[in-house]
């Protein structure tokens, strides 16, 4: 037994000794590189995440799944803190998407709508990119490790290694990769190889630099993220705009092709797509139910207004007035309502007159209300008791006369009345009957009239639906609105103009203050460019190419199909003409009851020209007011440049003006100013040359009418021909045509150029010299075009410079901070 105990004690002692030895060996070998023979715990499940472009999709999918699972666990009350943190990020995105979706509904164009989402995306991207680019990568470069390295812990939670400086999982740095090897990191940090505890020094360095970088991240993100977002959006706007312009243009061109096919074939399927599905059935229902409720009943003026409003929903005021006029004729008040009220009113009117004159109760003593009522009742019975007591014009006249006779008879048969008074009373009685019958006159909506109106309603709704389809295409092509082809082209041309004029920031700053300063700058720049043939040609070529793009895009020339704008114009004409014809086709007892409306839509034919119509307004809007005024401004700019070039050529001894050097100097000086800056009003005042009509004539001749174009201009403009609405016209021909037309239109020597004025022996017709035509031809002046573009440029440059500076300062400061980070505490002494 004693032995047994002894042995047991010995064994225990040996065991303890063995453990002690192992522990001792373990600690003694802690700094040894070879620890393979030591007892080690099992490896944990945690690991460092190696992020790269290759692993990104996998990690993204994992993260998304994790967030979805977190949501499910959050709703069921099981989510842990880490999962709840993920749900916070999800909430941020949900909120951001809500904002972008709502703001999208408030934007008009696809580009603006897309920019709301792009803005939000840029914000999220900036939040992610800033710490990576401004902190993580520079820190890695300087300090040799990634302070934003992620790890997955035992519970599968992905976190940043250094987010909590007191719990950095250094045990996961197992040296599998260089980035996970503390020894390697220590090398990169420049820690002496002879340091006995390099890893500990490296860890402390990692901790310190991480705390510093995390702090700097918090301090800079607030400024950097919004600035990056805004700058990114600013830079993205242009490419996004181009992308959506292309997208919308393709869509609109497809639509125009369909319209063209429909016009040619009348295909039912296309009709459904382009017209029927777009019809406003709601207003149709409203009109028909209104008509139904009024059929066979008397209608008041208010009722006619309501019918007119329902019939003409969505049309302009003038057209609505025309429809109201037609309805007024159709629903004329030529019938009379006869009911109990008729007799009462007659008696009341008589009583008021007679009792006032002859004393109270006088009327009752002469006339018996019952007898009058009986008479009316008998009459209505004899005429088959018409519905709602409505009598035709003839019958109501019959009744009126018979009532007059009845009252006259009652007066005459009353012996108590003096003969002279009988006459007065009879007259008063007739007056009372007439007044009441006049007051009871009414219009009645017949079945036939209701049918006309309903049919017209259907025609108008069809017209509106097709018009809407055509307008949606026309709008994108030409309208004065953001992101239209015409608007974008104007932007491109003015941008090219600024670029070609080579305007410095200083000049931009000065010129943006006033149009006058812009004109001076523009003149100076253009004179310089015009001096050199090559630079002049480059200027004209680049600008005119951009201008020509408008024609190409409007007509979709590249497709090889029929010019798109021709289809639009034809369709507008067809829709209006067909509608007018359909309205005129509604006929029955009344001939062409919608004559005024149809004429308002398609126009009154005066000498073969349909004028004053909706059709004409729509055509002129597109051709003259929109495309025309833009093209006129372009032509004016090119013509102005040509004049500058011709002036230079003249100075160099080529070409010619009047031959009188002094006069030519004045002509050139004034001509430049005229072309550069003159508005309609300046033409009206003849540029203050009233007392010198021969100079004015010379000026107009040399600036507009001479037909001269510099060879440099002609060659720079090229010989490619395509002009929207006019087909095969070269740019040079167009410039020349514009100059001639404007000269003829504006260059009169008389003061008056209002419609129908006489010049010489000729009466100038209305169409050619209206104020609007004059306005369109003079168009936007070159200096005004540049001035507006410069202001825009200045604003956007100012904004961009300001925030680029702020962004650069923050970025530079952040980058330089790395050099100050990680400095060792001088009180720390290390052992070697």
């Amino acid at each position: 037994m004693a032995n047994l105990i002894q042995n047991y004690a010995n064994n225990i002692g040996q065991g303890i000794s063995s453990v002690n030895n192992t522990t001792k060996k373990y600690y003694n070998n802690l700094t040894d590189s070879n620890s393979e023979n030591l007892l080690t715990p099992l490896d944990g499940k945690g690991y460092l995440v190696e992020n790269s472009l290759l692993t990104y999709p996998k990690e993204l999918a994992k993260d998304t799944y994790y967030t979805a699972k977190s949501l499910q666990r959050g709703i069921t009350g099981k989510a842990n803190d880490h999962e709840l943190g993920k749900l916070n990020d999800l909430g941020l995105k949900l909120g951001g998407l809500s904002i972008a979706t709502y703001l999208m509904t408030r934007r008009q164009t696809p580009k603006q709508k897309a920019m709301e989402f792009i803005g939000f995306g840029a914000f999220l991207a900036s939040m992610a990119i800033w710490p990576k680019v401004a902190l993580q990568w520079p820190a890695q470069l300087v300090h040799g490790f990634n302070f934003r390295k992620q790890y997955v812990d035992e519970q599968g939670r992905k976190k940043y290694v250094t987010q909590d400086p007191n719990y950095i999982p250094f045990d996961l740095y197992k040296g599998k990769r260089k980035s996970e090897d503390l020894g390697h990191i220590a090398d990169r940090m420049g820690i002496d190889k002879n340091e006995k505890d390099r890893n500990e020094l490296a860890k402390e360095h990692i901790r310190k630099v991480s705390v510093q970088n995390n702090t700097l991240w918090m301090l800079t993100a607030g400024v950097a993220t919004p600035v990056m977002t805004a700058l990114a959006c600013n830079r993205l706007e242009k490419p996004v705009g181009k992308f959506f312009e292309k997208l919308s243009d393709n869509k609109v061109n497809k639509l125009i092709n369909k319209i063209e096919n429909y016009n040619k074939s009348g295909d039912k399927k296309l009709e459904d797509e382009l017209i029927t599905t777009k019809m406003d059935n709601e207003s149709g229902k409203k009109l028909d139910s209104l008509l139904k409720s009024k059929i066979g009943k008397s209608v008041t003026e208010k009722d006619i207004d309501a019918i007119s409003d329902a019939l003409t929903v969505g049309l302009d005021n003038q057209t609505r007035k025309a429809a109201r006029l037609d309805l007024g004729y159709m629903l004329g008040q030529n019938q009379t309502v006869v009911n109990d009220d008729t007799v009462n009113m007659i008696f009341k009117t008589l009583t008021k007159k007679l009792d006032t004159k002859y004393g109270e109760g006088y009327t009752a003593s002469i006339f018996d209300t019952k007898k009058i009522a009986e008479h009316v009742d008998n009459f209505m019975n004899q005429n088959g008791r018409p519905a709602n007591g409505i009598l035709s014009a003839e019958k109501s006249e019959e009744l009126r006369l018979s009532l007059g006779e009845l009252l006259e008879k009652a007066t005459n048969e009353n012996s108590s009345i003096r003969a002279s008074r009988k006459e007065v009373i009879s007259e008063m009685a007739t007056d009372a009957v007439n007044a009441v019958f006049e007051g009871h006159k009414t219009a009645v909506l017949s079945d036939e009239t209701a049918g006309y109106i309903s049919k017209a309603g259907q025609t108008i709704r069809k017209y509106r639906a097709f018009d809407e389809t055509i307008s949606s295409a026309a709008h994108f092509k030409v309208e004065k609105a953001p992101e239209t082809l015409a608007g974008n082209n104007w932007g491109e041309v003015t941008e090219t103009l600024i670029k070609e004029l080579n305007i410095s920031p200083k000049e931009l700053n000065e010129a943006k203050s006033s149009e006058e300063l812009t004109a001076q700058l523009f003149t100076r720049k253009l004179e310089n460019i015009a001096k050199n043939e090559n630079s002049y040609k480059k200027f004209i070529t680049n600008i005119s190419k951009k201008m020509a793009k408008l024609d190409e895009k409007l007509d979709n020339v590249k497709s090889g199909n029929r010019p798109a704008m021709d289809t639009i114009i034809d369709s507008i004409v067809r829709n209006h003409d067909n509608t007018a014809a359909e309205l005129n086709g509604i006929t029955g007892t009344e001939s062409k009851p919608f004559f005024n409306l149809s004429q308002r839509i398609a126009g009154e034919n005066i000498d073969g020209v349909f004028v004053g119509s909706v059709k004409d307004a729509k055509l002129q809007r597109i051709k003259t007011a929109r495309v025309g005024s833009i093209q006129n401004a372009y032509m004016r700019l090119l013509h102005t440049a040509d004049f500058f070039r011709r002036a230079e050529e003249y100075k160099a001894g080529n070409g010619g003006f009047s031959g009188n050097a002094k006069l030519d100097k004045a002509l050139i000086e004034k001509g430049k100013k005229l072309l550069m800056s003159s508005h309609s009003g300046d033409f009206y005042t003849k540029f203050e040359t009233h007392n010198n009509s021969s100079f004015f004539k010379g000026l107009i001749w040399h600036t507009f009418l001479s037909g001269e174009t510099s060879n440099a201009t002609k060659s720079a403009l090229g010989y490619e021909s395509h002009e929207v609405f006019n087909g095969k016209t070269t740019m040079a021909q167009r410039v020349s045509k514009w100059a001639k037309q404007t000269g003829n239109l504006m260059g009169t020597t008389l003061n008056e150029f209002l419609p129908n004025h006489i010049e010489g022996k000729d009466i100038f017709p209305n169409a050619q010299k209206t104020a609007v035509e004059k306005f369109n031809k003079v168009a936007c002046t070159p200096d005004n075009m540049l001035y507006n573009a410069l202001k825009q440029k200045f604003n956007s440059n100012k904004w961009l410079r300001m925030w680029t500076t702020v962004g650069s300062i923050v970025l530079t400061g952040t980058l330089l901070s790395q050099l100050a980070f990680g400095k060792q505490d001088k009180t720390v002494q290390t052992s070697k």
């Binding site: 509904t105 400086p165 904004w799 002494q829």
Partner: protein, 370 residues
């Protein structure tokens, strides 16, 4: 604070100059007595204001200084608290982005740019306000229905380890919430909440309110899983709904009604005060004050009026639009409200049905030791 630092060593540096290496000897002797000053605070506006003030001022001053130095005592709490810096600076930067440049724009461009900028700046403000207020749409109903105030604040006080013998320990204050962590709620702070009540008073109350029963042997053990459930569900509801409410704030600011408010806010609308030369200085100062007050009241009224009309505008949508474009405001409001209501309802449901779920611990046995 009664902390004895006489035993503290002279340095806590990585390797003390005189110390052998490695391993490091544990040179610090912790203070003998650290008073427990961590305490639950009443959840009221005063506390909230105090906490916000302390967190924000620390986030802009003390913590960045420590952090930029790479201080050994920098903590995760400080890092998290500094999260308010990008939030505040970001809001200010967004406002500046929309408003700073127009001052240099040509005259005719200034006005348009400013109106747009003002609206966007207001959007940033209303985002913050709506996000902050909307938290209550979840937390208040949850508190009324379950008795658990998920926002219950507490202040944690700790003392730094002295750097040297002569160092005075500095108390560090951290503003937390008892239920901010689902993994580690501060259950310990809920024992003995009221001196004259039983130690489990709070747990008894929550158990009773949520139908777990009364006079339970171990109400704390019963209630703790329920609390975790409430934290998880309410936090989910808050995360999802408050950002959408913040979005509603931005949408509200995008309405045209605010144009009138911006006019009321403009310099031109400010009724200037002209001192009366016949009155003495004090009366003029008082009158100036009254004038300022009147102007501020006018602006406040304008804000209120336009807030109401902007809300109506958001709800009704533009008269010219149809379908989703017209009703987008309604949808957004409905979506935000639905998230809050459903989130709160889900939390309350979770608490009320907690008793039905299988319990690991037998509720009839006492498992805690006082």
């Amino acid at each position: 604070m009664g902390i004895d630092t006489s035993n503290a060593n002279t340095t806590i540096a990585l390797t003390p100059k005189s110390a052998p290496c490695p391993p490091y000897p544990h040179v610090h002797i912790p203070p003998e007595h650290i008073p427990e000053e961590t305490r639950i605070l009443p959840n009221n506006p005063r506390t909230q204001a105090m906490r916000t003030f302390q967190k924000v001022t620390s986030a802009f001053t003390e913590y960045p200084v420590k952090g930029l130095k790479g201080d050994k005592k920098s903590t995760f709490y400080e890092f998290l608290t500094m999260g308010s810096v990008p939030y505040i600076l970001g809001s200010a930067t967004f406002m500046a982005l929309f408003n700073a440049a127009p001052s240099w724009f040509p005259n005719f461009n200034k006005k348009g740019a400013r109106v747009g900028g003002n609206k966007l700046a207001l959007g940033v403000l209303l985002y913050g306000v709506a996000k902050s207020i909307s938290k209550n749409f979840v937390t208040k109903p949850v508190k009324w229905a379950t008795g658990i105030d998920t926002e219950m604040p507490y202040e944690k006080v700790s003392y730094t380890i002295p750097n040297s013998k002569d160092d005075t320990p500095v108390p560090m204050f951290e503003q937390h919430k008892v239920f901010e962590s689902r993994d580690f709620p501060r259950y310990d702070k809920l024992y003995g909440l009221k001196e004259d009540k039983p130690r489990n008073y709070y747990y008894d109350k929550i158990a009773k309110k949520n139908g777990l029963g009364i006079n339970l042997e171990a109400s704390d053990a019963e209630v703790k899983p329920l609390i975790k459930d409430v934290i998880s569900r309410s936090s989910t509801a808050k995360s999802l709904s408050t950002y959408v409410w913040g979005g509603v704030g931005v949408m509200l600011a995008a309405q045209n009604s605010w144009d009138k408010f911006f006019r009321a806010l403009s310099k031109k609308s400010w009724k200037r005060f002209t001192p009366n030369p016949n009155e003495n200085k004090i009366i003029n100062i008082v009158d100036r004050g009254i004038n300022t007050g009147k102007n501020l009241w006018r602006i406040t009224k304008s804000f209120g009026r336009n807030f109401v009309s902007a809300s109506k505008e958001l709800y009704k949508g533009p008269a010219t639009e149809k379908g989703f474009n017209k009703h987008a405001g309604k949808f957004a409001l409905g979506f935000a409200a639905a998230l809050s209501i459903l989130g709160a309802a889900n939390t309350i449901y979770g608490a009320k049905t907690a008793g039905d779920r299988k319990m690991v611990i037998d509720s009839d046995k006492k498992v805690t030791v006082d």
